[in-house]
């Protein structure tokens, strides 16, 4: 990554207001940011600060109340006008891979079958060739014929990551990916994400409570009350 890498994600003045009864909850307050190809960005902040809401909007899983979002130069949302659901589906599968705190593996499918699950709906050209490499990269190659019930939590999250990567996304979105894991497994996943970013050039947007995990990112954005409170670049990375 360098300052000259192209911008893959650009958000301008995003606002999200939830309505609960007669109450309006402003979850995101005028957030603008841009993310370059190959960047590793971590969102941190106290509980309820809007991290999940923001990453969902950036990942086109939710719509902002107002504001503008462009991906790869293409406007996805502009002041409440959103692409059609089918166009959004395309954007999601072309650009994003998602991982969450829970793994959502299908218990009756093997590790390998779970990883290949996205192919039953959509297969990006050339994606097949990568399968073996991705399983190896994530260190679950030797587990590929096991069922999810037979492997550890850390391995399950690796399977979920492999599944998110199988269609070669441009951006990996991870919301609390280590929330269900102990410290050691968390560190392993952290190392893995770092490796994916450094060696594969994958753009990663990470949400976490865990300061140690956040520190592996190049850029840490701290949210408070739905707004960007502080932004810092880590020193361990050359510009």
């Amino acid at each position: 990554m360098s300052q000259t890498s192209p911008i893959v994600l650009e958000a301008h003045d995003l606002v999200k207001i939830f309505h609960r009864g007669s109450e309006d909850i402003p979850a995101i307050n005028h957030v603008s940011l841009s993310i370059r190809e190959g960047e590793f960005v971590a969102f941190v902040g106290p509980s309820g600060s809007g991290k999940t809401t923001l990453i969902n909007i950036l990942g086109c899983l939710d719509n902002p109340t107002s504001g503008k979002l462009s991906l790869d130069g293409r406007v996805v949302v502009d002041e409440g006008r959103v692409l059609s659901e089918s166009a959004l589906t395309k954007v999601r599968r072309d650009i994003f891979g998602y991982i969450f705190q829970k793994f959502y593996l299908i218990p009756t499918l093997t590790v390998q079958e779970n990883v290949l699950l996205p192919f039953t709906f959509y297969r990006k050209p050339g994606a097949d060739a990568e399968v073996g490499r991705i399983l190896k990269l994530l260190g679950i190659d030797h587990r590929k014929d096991h069922l999810p019930g037979e492997i550890s939590g850390g391995e399950m999250q690796r399977v979920a990551i492999a599944r998110a990567l199988i269609n070669r996304p441009r951006i990996l979105l991870a919301d609390e990916p280590t929330g269900n894991l102990d410290t050691r497994r968390s560190e392993e996943i952290g190392e893995l994400l770092k490796g994916l970013n450094r060696r594969e050039g994958l753009t990663i947007i990470l949400v976490t409570h865990n300061p140690a995990l956040a520190n592996i990112a190049d850029r840490i954005i701290e949210l408070r009350d739905g707004a960007i409170y502080k932004e810092s670049w880590s020193s361990n990375r050359e510009a």
């Binding site: 999940t52 969902n56 990942g59 899983l61 939710d62 659901e85 089918s86 589906t89 395309k90 999601r92 599968r93 994003f96 998602y98 969450f100 705190q101 829970k102 959502y104 299908i106 218990p107 009756t108 499918l109 079958e113 290949l116 699950l117 996205p118 192919f119 039953t120 709906f121 959509y122 599944r163 998110a164 269609n167 919301d175 609390e176």
Partner: protein
């Protein structure tokens, strides 16, 4: 590699007991359906065959025994009335008549029959016309008598069995003390012919002192001719009544239709219950998997992809249930036959439940249709799940 069929199938394996119970429900519905359709088909086939085996389409009998005439011919019986033999000549003049055969039935009590005695039914038939009309009758031994006055008899399969006669054996007409010689024994037909002893008409008339009397006249109508037109003319004859076999069939069908309505209502209820079961199962599994469906959508699955997946799961349940139910129905056809026979006012001889491949296919068609229909709502609901669902539950 992996395809959507495997995913659907393996999804069903996640709740084995629930899937199995749903399949059992569908299998029961399919079983009821196949059995009933089989019955519907078999009953009409058997009835048609019974009636075709009479060899004639119209039976003219003496006035005074309404539909008993039909019962008489179908089942054998007593309470006979007579008409004069010259009616035959009169009827023969009608242009619609193809063949005509006079008959005289007599029933004689035989004290030596069975444990407490019983009736022997003798049917006097004309050797010139009767064998020709009933040309489908096959002989186990011997052949028809040819002399209209010969002291000879042809025995139905069961009659011969009961009396333990072979061709060449003598047979005594009890009350009359006349001995005849058995010249032929028929093969089993599954109709009342099996229990009948056929004698030459003239000889019966003489023996029973009914020289000028007949109990029935069988008429075969010319192929192109109108049966109802002939019937109208026959109604004009005095002191006779006309029983058309299509009418007999109609009457029996009406009697049976009440039973059929009941039986088909049961089938309908069974199907409805299984539809509710399927919808419930699939809906439940969709609700349990909202988050997972959200994930699938975030992976790039479209609403239609999800719809297909859930629809497939429904179809797999229905098809497995359908296959099991159909084979079960085939296996229990005999049992169903016995059960249904008890419910019916009149049951023809032969298999009542006739299951054939096209019927099984029809049932598969219905079951698949049920699956497709009952899958629509849950599938549509699943397709509408937003990918956000997957994450939402983490917030709470």
């Amino acid at each position: 590699m992996i395809n959507i069929f495997q995913v659907a199938y393996k999804n069903l394996l996640r709740k084995k007991a629930r899937s199995a119970l749903t399949i059992v429900g569908i299998a029961l519905a399919a079983w009821v359906l196949v059995s009933l359709l089989g019955f519907n088909r078999g009953y009409e086939m058997s009835l048609n065959r019974d009636i075709d085996n009479l060899g004639f389409q119209i039976l003219v009998t003496a006035k005074g025994c309404p539909y008993e005439a039909a019962t008489l011919m179908l089942k054998g019986g007593t309470g006979l009335r007579y008409m004069k033999a010259d009616v035959v000549a009169q009827i023969s003049k009608e242009p619609e008549v193809d063949e005509i055969t006079p008959m005289l039935m007599q029933a004689v009590f035989d004290p030596n029959k069975g444990e407490s005695g019983g009736y022997s039914a003798y049917l006097g038939v004309d050797p010139a016309t009767f064998p020709k009309m009933k040309s489908f009758l096959e002989f186990k031994q011997g052949k028809w008598f040819t002399d209209p006055e010969a002291l000879e008899a042809v025995m139905g399969y069961e009659a011969a069995e009961l009396e333990q006669r072979e061709v060449g054996d003598p047979l005594l007409i009890t009350e009359k003390n006349v001995e005849v010689k058995v010249v032929g024994i028929l093969k089993r037909t599954g109709t009342q012919d099996d229990g009948t002893i056929f004698l030459p008409l003239k000889m019966v008339q003489k023996t029973f002192d009914k020289t000028d009397d007949l109990t029935g006249i069988g008429i075969k109508v010319k192929k192109e001719a109108s049966i109802s037109k002939l019937e109208d003319k026959l109604y004009q004859l005095p002191d006779v009544q006309v029983v058309s076999m299509s009418q007999v069939k109609q009457t029996i069908m009406t009697l049976v239709s009440t039973a059929k309505v009941m039986v088909f209502s049961i089938a309908l209820i069974a199907i409805l219950i299984s539809v509710v079961g399927v919808v419930n199962t699939i809906l439940m599994s969709v609700m349990e998997r909202l988050q997972e469906i959200g994930i699938l959508k975030s992976m790039g699955a479209t609403a239609w992809d999800i719809f297909k997946l859930i629809w497939l799961e429904t179809l797999i349940l229905c098809i497995s249930g359908g296959v099991i139910g159909a084979f079960f129905a085939l296996g229990t056809a005999r049992l169903t036959d016995v059960l249904i026979r008890r419910l019916l006012p009149y049951a023809p001889s032969g298999g009542l439940v006739q299951i054939n491949p096209s019927l099984v296919l029809l049932t598969f068609g219905i079951v698949i249709l049920i699956g497709l229909l009952s899958g629509v709502y849950p599938s549509w609901k699943a397709g509408r799940v937003r990918p956000l669902e997957a994450i939402r539950s983490q917030v709470e």
